[in-house]
């Protein structure tokens, strides 16, 4: 109890109110704490009529909640689910009546309970302020001493400090046992090996139009448009379609041979038809926007921009290197085919990537 006695002095106001006009000064020369102001009564504290009105208001909220719950259940039964049922509600627009009715009734049934409870607390429950003591978090010196003494005693009885052999082998065992847990995670996935370096493209593989699924005649690739392609041996029904398309997706453009600034890039194309990886070298979004006058393609994710007339070099944005190009030609029926696989990894950069 002594600690409380010590403290009680400090939170007593240092001097009483109304002391000859001027402000009351504290020991340190600043203004003194006048202490907690007296409690002021609310209307509902002194006027029984007002209190009864507040009581009715609280009850109204709770009643409203009950009604809304009935409305919720009714809406659940009445309205049909599904995307085809829509009504126009001003000013929100077209909404699903089921979602709207359920949400509004649920919202009201919950909100009304809250409003009732808060109104009750504010008008009818006592709003008198109380003072509680704080006690220091830290233990007293005696308790501290006791704890240390207990610990030393326990430690001595265990012999932990004295029997070095036990101590060291125990630390060793404890340090090693988590290794089993680490080892268990090995089968989360395969090792990277060369998996990221290769794609499904190989010499002699035909290009297939992504939309039609048909092989692509060189003449089908028009100036000014972007054609998306994938390997002919890949089908949407394949088990590993998502994994392969994430690396194999191509985009084809046709440029006037004279517009191609990069000699090697022109050589890897076929009469101005060039094939680039569609996967952005930044963090792997598929590139989708083509500006035909400038021959720039833009990645919609973070706006990396590549110049297809100059070996798909990065001209703006956060990507670190050019889009890889696939060397193409035509087979004896005039269909575009790969003359080689990709010679550099496609997609985002990684530590083992070499160029």
């Amino acid at each position: 109890m002594t600690s409380q006695d010590n403290m009680s002095e400090e939170h007593l106001p240092e001097a009483a109110h109304g002391h000859g006009g001027g402000p009351v000064v504290s020991k340190d020369g600043y203004f003194a704490d006048p202490g907690l102001p007296p409690h002021e009564h609310r209307r509902t504290d002194i006027d029984e009529k007002a209190a009864r009105r507040a009581e009715r208001q609280v009850a109204m909220w709770f009643l409203l909640s009950m009604l809304a719950t009935v409305g919720f259940i009714a809406s659940y039964v009445i309205f049909k689910p599904g995307p085809t049922h829509h009504v126009f509600i001003w000013p929100i627009g077209n909404v699903s009546p089921l979602n709207f009715a359920l949400g509004v009734t649920l919202g009201i049934s919950l909100f009304a309970i809250g409003a009732g409870a808060v109104h009750w607390a504010r008008t009818l429950m006592s709003d008198e302020e109380h003072i509680a003591e704080r006690h220091p978090i830290e233990a007293t010196p005696e308790v501290r001493e006791q704890v240390f003494a207990d610990f030393r005693q326990g430690s001595k009885e265990s012999g932990f400090g004295r029997r070095k052999l036990i101590r060291n082998t125990m630390i060793g065992a404890m340090a090693m046992v988590p290794l089993s847990a680490v080892v268990l995670f090995r089968d989360l996935g395969p090792l990277p090996e060369k998996k990221l370096d290769t794609t499904g493209w190989k010499a002699g593989m035909l290009l297939k139009n992504m939309n039609t699924g048909e092989p692509i005649q060189a003449s089908d690739v028009q100036v000014g448009s972007l054609t998306f392609a994938m390997p002919a041996d890949l089908s949407e029904d394949d088990e590993d379609f998502q994994e392969r398309i994430a690396k194999d997706a191509l985009m084809l453009v046709r440029l006037q041979p004279g517009d191609i600034k990069d000699k090697k890039s022109a050589d890897w194309g076929y009469h101005g038809v060039l094939a680039f990886s569609k996967i952005c070298t930044h963090v792997g979004c598929p590139i989708s926007l083509y500006e035909q006058q400038t021959h720039h393609v833009l990645c919609p994710c973070h706006q990396s921009t590549f110049d297809l007339s100059d070996g798909a070099r990065v001209i703006f944005g956060p990507a670190g290197h050019a889009l890889p190009q696939l060397q193409i030609g035509v087979d004896n029926t005039g269909n575009l085919e790969a003359l080689n696989g990709f010679t550099v990894p496609v997609g985002p950069g990684f530590w083992e990537r070499s160029e």
């Binding site: 001027g22 006048p34 907690l36 649920l106 008198e128 996935g189 990684f350 530590w351």
Partner: protein, 556 residues
């Protein structure tokens, strides 16, 4: 029980256990309470807490909003798990949403569509879940700001700050994972982004990627794995942290603002039962009600519009939830630096943003310890600071917020470009410059503003409050009548303490030998001068100054 000692102890029976006498008269409620107390000893807990005092201030409700939105997230999330199928197995859609008829998609996406269209109320619960997540993170950020700007993180609450920090970090990640689960075109784009970020990590990036995705992107494992992490692992950890957080709030007792009758050694307010039970309990329903209402009228993440994920397709306006927007900004404004040497690639354009992302969080976690070290203050603090009275801290906080907002703008550079008719180039470059300059400006402006407010407080104390009444003096001059502040106000405005900067130890010790002062000590003294020097605090007026001026006024 062994019979031979029962005789000897029978006398003591009445002392252990609530008295059996007079059981008939006891209320049923009392009886069951006694039953529980007999096994759990709850009376001692209740004695300390039923009438526990909580101080009142609107900003103390922010933590409650975090708590309630978390509860809403758990409730709605459990409901969703009953219908959601976290599988990347392929199916062909034949459901009620006609635009996607016959399209191949993952079972995850299909079940998310079914929840939206075929489970009655499923869409509402999905939307409540998503809206609550948005509110949750926003509330955590604002709650953190209130704790920061009032200095509530000081001793003894540093550890609770860390618990809170972890909740914020985990909350953001869990939101990101939830966003990824439906396997629509947007969520897949987020997962791809994450793959690229992981691959950029030097040395181990490709291993981490393979282990997380169970093979090459996208594989068949990432959604089921995210599902377990999203619904079990992270919420479980968060629940533990949250309970610890609240236990510490109870144990430390809540802080309070300075005011008459309020000291460092007491807490003034109203009792938990009944006022806070009613207000806080009621507030849960208010928050839930508002979120339900918003979910009725405002659609969030309409996955059916995006279509299923395919790695070669993208929707042009791919945007993460707002709280991840700053990471999007980091990655967008970073130049595409890449170092290629000795057969390796260091993808700095992605890795540096990843590191800065981490640093933005680390500074939050360590700030209380940093400030404690600089100020050398080892005392407990239960009276909150007004932000103006800690200008350096307030400036640093605003600088962080400014950085966050700049990055948010950077993350929406395309939106800003189209709305403001500027080029993306221009916005990106502006954000790059502002990334470095913005926080500095924000810091300086805020600090000055705080100093201005301190000066105004001082004026108000010394010269009183402007009353708006104009008086004409006998010699014709017009003056505005100033009213003296009441004692309560005078005390409230001067209750904060003003520390002096830490001093360097004397250059020579008591034996006259020159002391070596380490550079760390010097740095600390400098920083301390920054916190407590004359550029950061206006000496608060003493009662004596006040007396001089007020008596001076009398002579007029």
């Amino acid at each position: 029980m062994s019979t031979h000692i029962s005789d000897a102890t029978s006398g003591a029976h009445e002392e252990i256990g609530h008295s059996e006498a007079g059981v008939e008269q006891k209320h049923l409620g009392e009886k069951s309470a006694d039953w529980v107390d007999g096994r759990l000893g709850v009376y001692n807990l209740a004695k300390a807490n039923l009438r526990k005092i909580f101080p009142d201030h609107w900003s103390f409700m922010l933590g409650e909003i975090c708590l309630y939105s978390f509860i809403i997230i758990i409730l709605t999330g459990v409901y969703l798990t009953l219908f959601f199928n976290p599988s990347m197995g392929e199916v062909v859609y034949h459901g009620t949403y006609t635009p996607l008829q016959g399209i191949k998609m993952s079972e995850a996406y299909k079940s998310a569509l079914d929840i939206s269209f075929d489970v009655r109320g499923g869409l509402l619960i999905r939307q409540i879940h998503h809206w609550a997540a948005i509110v949750f993170v926003a509330a955590m950020l604002v709650h953190m700001m209130r704790v920061f700007f009032t200095g509530a993180f000081r001793k003894p609450r540093e550890i609770n700050w860390l618990f809170g920090f972890l909740l914020l970090f985990l909350g953001m990640f869990d939101g990101f994972m939830g966003y990824s689960l439906p396997d629509d075109l947007l969520s897949g784009t987020g997962i791809r982004f994450m793959e690229g970020a992981i691959l950029s990590v030097p040395l181990v990036g490709t291993y981490l990627q393979m282990f997380l995705y169970g093979g090459q992107f996208p594989g068949n494992d990432i959604i089921p794995r995210f599902f377990t992490i999203h619904v079990l692992l992270i919420p479980g950890i968060m629940l533990g942290l949250l309970v610890a957080h609240l236990i510490l709030v109870f144990y430390h007792k809540h802080t309070q603002f300075a005011g008459p009758g309020r000291t460092e050694k007491n807490v003034v307010g109203m009792p938990l039962m009944p006022v806070y039970m009613a207000k806080a309990g009621g507030f849960f329903f208010l928050v839930f009600g508002v979120i339900a209402f918003v979910s009725a009228i405002a659609s969030v993440n309409p996955i059916w519009e995006y279509g299923p994920y395919r790695p070669d397709q993208v929707s042009t306006d791919a945007q993460p939830d707002w709280y991840m927007g700053f990471s999007e900004g980091l990655i967008r404004i970073m130049p595409g630096w890449e170092i290629r040497a000795w057969g390796h690639t260091l993808e700095l354009g992605v890795f540096i943003p990843l590191v800065i992302f981490g640093l933005m969080f680390v500074v939050i976690a360590i700030y209380p310890f940093l400030e404690g070290w600089i100020t050398g203050d080892k005392r407990e603090h239960h009276i909150l600071d007004r932000p103006r009275n800690a200008p350096v801290r307030t400036g640093l906080g605003v600088a962080w917020i400014a950085e966050y907002i700049i990055l948010l703008v950077g993350g929406g550079n395309d939106l800003f470009a189209t709305h403001l008719h500027l080029s993306i180039d221009a916005i990106t470059w502006a954000c790059r410059v502002l990334f470095f300059v913005g926080p500095v400006i924000a810091f300086m402006v805020t600090k000055r503003w705080c100093m201005g407010l301190q000066r105004r407080d001082k004026d108000k104390i010394l010269h009183g409050r402007e009353t708006g009444t104009i008086k004409r003096l006998p010699h014709g001059e017009f003056i505005e009548v100033h009213a003296q502040l009441p004692q309560e106000e005078l005390f409230r405005l001067t209750a904060h303490e003003q520390s002096a900067p830490a001093e360097l130890p004397a250059a020579v010790d008591e034996n006259g030998v020159k002391r070596k002062i380490g550079s760390i000590t010097k740095l600390r003294a400098k920083l301390s001068a920054g916190y407590f020097g004359p550029q950061s605090q206006i000496a608060k007026p003493t009662a004596e100054e006040h007396a001089e001026i007020t008596s001076g006024h009398g002579h007029h």
